[in-house]
């Protein structure tokens, strides 16, 4: 790994990052950059594919994740990956999701240069769009990073509050905020050969304190782990059909969570299929079975069925929760379920491209007690 520092010019962190990205794009070594960039209204930041360096005005710090960047990269690469490298700027959770999509044959990393960004977390899209503070969300967040305060925590999405790992892995280049004085410098790391090649010609400084980053990352991870442990302990009581039924009471079967989920990739979901279409007499029969029958039906079946299908790859980005129109705090159920299920199979989604998804492999000598009791 090569570690360098990018000088912050005129106290403008966002501008300095943009200068760096523009140099990257103008070098001709990559043909386009996928970066989060504000819409003209400044209400939200979308992944934007930029070919012309002059049009690059990204905001990679902007604390908002309106859509799964992993899904966007899947769209870019699934039919045919690019013939020349393109850079994609992504947060840690989205890189994990992208690795899962690659394993599921839904994306390709061929000619994809992953530029990971240290993630201080994101706010719900509506909080970001109508931000209650006087500053813009980006400046607000930057200030908390500079002063090392926890002021931004109150706005974080619950998934970000208990983030599994905010530091990007499986990347070519990292833009790091932790372990450096952000008012002066920003960390640029090259994690791969191509990453080194890309930053070679960009003027960067040497790092003065190379241990500081390591320590800051450790602190950050420990802090999140602690918040995570509290969260998991707090949700232990979410058990039993009474509580689960009540929890999902507001689910109107809109399937937005599935739409937002980077892992749910099926072209035709079972729940949109004709499986749930039936003759009237069958609905009436179901009504007779319990005496009454709620419509639309099968909301809990959808939630549990979707969970069974995707939970082993769940990267806990929390986009399902953000997408829910009725604000069901889905992470309260999905994070404990993901933790337990992934532990059962000793599986770490998004960690290693070579690690096989548990449902496509098996060993003859495992789980011997299952089926034999």
């Amino acid at each position: 790994m090569t570690q360098k520092a990018l000088k912050i010019k005129e106290n403008d962190v966002v501008g300095s990052i943009n200068d760096f990205l523009r140099q990257l794009l103008s070098s001709g070594k990559i043909q386009a950059l996928l970066v989060p960039q504000s819409t003209p209204s400044k209400k939200v930041v979308y992944p934007v594919l930029i070919a012309d360096p002059k049009k690059l005005h990204s905001d990679i710090i902007a604390p908002v994740l309106p859509v799964a960047t992993a899904t966007v990269v899947s769209k870019l690469t699934k039919v045919q990956p690019p013939s020349k490298p393109i850079g994609v700027v992504m947060r840690a959770c989205q890189i994990r999701a992208l690795v899962e999509l690659v394993k599921l044959n839904q994306a390709s990393l061929s000619n994809i240069i992953i530029i990971g960004v240290d993630c201080p977390g994101t706010f719900p899209i509506n909080v970001y769009a109508d931000f209650p503070e006087k500053k813009t969300p980006t400046h607000f967040l930057l200030e908390t990073l500079l002063k090392k305060t926890k002021d931004a925590d109150q706005y974080l999405r619950s998934a970000c509050h208990v983030c599994k790992d905010p530091i990007p892995t499986n990347v070519d280049i990292v833009l790091g905020f932790y372990g450096i004085d952000l008012d002066k410098e920003l960390i640029v790391e090259a994690h791969s050969e191509i990453g080194r090649e890309l930053i070679k010609d960009i003027p960067l400084e040497e790092i003065t304190d190379d241990k500081a980053r390591e320590k800051a990352i450790k602190d950050q991870r420990e802090m999140k782990d602690k918040q995570r442990a509290v969260f998991l302990k707090d949700k232990e009581g979410m058990k039993g059909i009474e509580k689960i039924a009540e929890f999902f009471d507001k689910c109107v079967n809109c399937h937005n969570c599935r739409q937002a989920c980077p892992i749910c990739y099926c072209k035709e979901c079972l729940f949109d299929s004709a499986v749930f279409d039936a003759e009237a007499y069958k609905f009436i029969r179901r009504a007779e079975n319990k005496g009454l029958f709620k419509l639309p039906s099968d909301a809990l079946l959808f939630q549990l069925g979707r969970m069974n299908h995707m939970i082993l790859s769940c990267v806990q980005c929390g986009l399902c929760e953000q997408a829910c129109p009725n604000m069901i705090p889905l992470m309260e159920v999905f994070i404990p379920a993901a933790e337990n299920a992934q532990k059962e199979f000793a599986y770490h989604p998004g960690k290693d491209k070579a690690e096989k998804i548990p449902m496509i492999v098996y060993r003859e000598d495992e789980f011997l007690e299952v089926g034999e009791k």
Partner: protein, 149 residues
């Protein structure tokens, strides 16, 4: 079964069990139990599937949410799958489903996976007796009274 009878005490409640049996082993095992005139409780409603590996957790969940008191999945013994590895996949899937049911505090004891070969008519009958009695002890599926799912 009438509504009144259903709500009686645990002892005279008759569990409804949905059984997914693989075509090549467990279904043939059940068939053998029948042709050998081995007696076993009539509580199981058998659905023949091509392989235990084809039983998506969705089938099991749907049966449970619709109020089945138990769900049984029968497959070939490990190593004997007609499709080579379907039952190994079924086994992993069952581990996942049980794990999720455990996290959510739903009764995973109501879901059974067993290996029954085509020659094991007696084992099928015994397993059905055992399961019916265990489920009878557990009582009616509490999900059955929830209509707002």
């Amino acid at each position: 079964m009438s509504e009144e009878k259903k709500n009686h005490s645990k002892e005279d409640f008759e569990p409804k069990i949905v059984g997914f049996l693989c075509n090549w082993c467990s279904y043939a095992g059940a068939d053998l139990a029948g042709t050998s005139r081995i007696q076993y409780p009539p509580n199981v409603r058998i659905i023949r599937v091509m392989c235990s590996g084809s039983v998506d957790s969705m089938y099991i969940l749907r049966a449970l949410l619709e109020g089945a008191d138990g769900v049984f999945v029968g497959g070939c013994h490990p190593g004997d799958c007609h499709y080579i590895d379907g039952n190994y996949k079924a086994r992993r899937r069952m581990v996942l489903l049980e794990n999720i049911l455990g996290t959510l505090g739903l009764e995973k004891e109501r879901v059974w996976l067993r290996w029954i070969s085509a020659s094991e008519g007696q084992k099928f009958a015994d397993t059905m007796k055992e399961m019916t009695e265990k489920i009878r002890k557990l009582g009616p599926n509490p999900i059955a009274k929830h209509w707002n799912l």
